[in-house]
Symmetry: C2
Subunit: 233 residues, 2 copies
């Protein structure tokens, strides 16, 4: 489902300045990058000091959610309606050019800006956690031991409506200076892939229990970005 907006209007905060031809502000481009990942880096400020914390997140329409312990410094900070920058990056290829200057990286990234707020209502919080588990492991939630009141109290979920966002993407071969194409040098790209690997089963698992249906998408060899994109739609 697509959010209510179709395009963000870039301001000084979100406009892609360097290589502006790589920038995009339309909601679909931004959502597709966000939906292909579940790890982000959340930036926030305490007393003028920036902090960048890696955490898992999920998207619903134009809102981003993440969660963690109620005692987390990051969550206590971002829940007080402070400005947040949430960045997601996919590393796609090394770009090997004919000069050091034109070496590069093919990537897809999004910087999303907004103010995060705690989800206080317990039912809403529980629904958000269910959405997160089912986003990664479809149908897994009802199989699990139910959440206790104490667990729910000890968990903070924050939601942030995306106020502004920009995507930045580089694709394609190296772009060298015109005379350099005549040089007898190898040039091209090398793919970097994030893929699903092998399982380990918990040594304390009761023997003979099948891998659950919710984990079926996580097959060894699957590209993680494509898998997450399928799960999001």
């Amino acid at each position: 489902m697509i959010g209510p907006m179709t395009e963000f209007t870039p301001t000084a905060r979100s406009r892609v300045k360097r290589h502006h031809e790589r920038g995009a502000y339309d909601f679909d481009a931004i959502a597709s990058i966000l939906d292909a990942a579940f790890l982000c880096h959340v930036g926030y400020v305490i007393d003028g000091q920036p902090y960048v914390t890696p955490t898992s997140y999920w998207r619903e329409d134009d809102r981003l959610y993440w969660h963690g312990s109620a005692a987390s410094r990051m969550l206590r900070t971002v829940a007080t309606s402070v400005p947040v920058c949430l960045t997601v990056t996919h590393l796609d290829r090394l770009v090997i050019a004919r000069s050091g200057f034109h070496h590069s990286i093919n990537y897809r990234s999004v910087m999303a800006f907004g103010e995060a707020a705690t989800i206080a209502d317990p039912d809403e919080k529980l629904a958000a956690l269910e959405a997160f588990v089912n986003r990664l492991y479809p149908g897994r939630w009802p199989e699990l031991r139910p959440v206790t009141k104490q667990e729910l109290k000890g968990t903070t979920v924050v939601g942030m409506t995306i106020a502004e966002a920009s995507a930045k993407v580089r694709v394609g071969p190296p772009v060298d200076d015109e005379p350099d194409y005549a040089l007898p040098l190898w040039a091209g790209t090398v793919a970097i892939r994030q893929v699903v690997g092998e399982d380990t089963t918990d040594p304390r698992m009761i023997p003979g229990i099948a891998r659950p249906a919710g984990l079926a998408p996580w097959r060894a060899g699957e590209a993680v970005d494509a898998l997450l994109t399928r799960l999001a739609t």
Copy 2:
């Protein structure tokens, strides 16, 4: 080569608060996580607004370096001796528990704090760029078309001595509540791997040029973290 310090003393800024048993402050633990990656997320503040920019970096002893266009907002900001948080994260495994609450992620991350400064001296800047190219592609630098004065002028390299840093690592199987181990539920972990994929050659490359020796470590199927660790030593 190991830097002059063997341990960082955690302060309120760098101490791992949640799951403090996952925290580490010794230099070797931090360096090994940094040396297994080349993509980081740099956090900085402009007018109270946090920004998180993905960029490539490299380490020498207790210093981190990154670079980009002299016109980059990120580089112009961090070069003015403002506080910076540089975070590196490796996503290792999904952790599938018997309750939603104990689902987790195995990861290795470092938050490094300091103040970045531009490397003004052109020779030092050139040496830093050479070190970066050779860190990823050993021996590639001397094969390349040499850097021009204009390119060097248009490139900013910043260095940051790590003032404080902490590592946070989760490994191992899910940790469930004791009674939940009796539940007939699958539990375990699923590996997530970042690996080298296939090459593409630049469509404009002169035919018949061999893949250079500097790219030899980037073989399809190699784990990127292990490859980068080998290149760093």
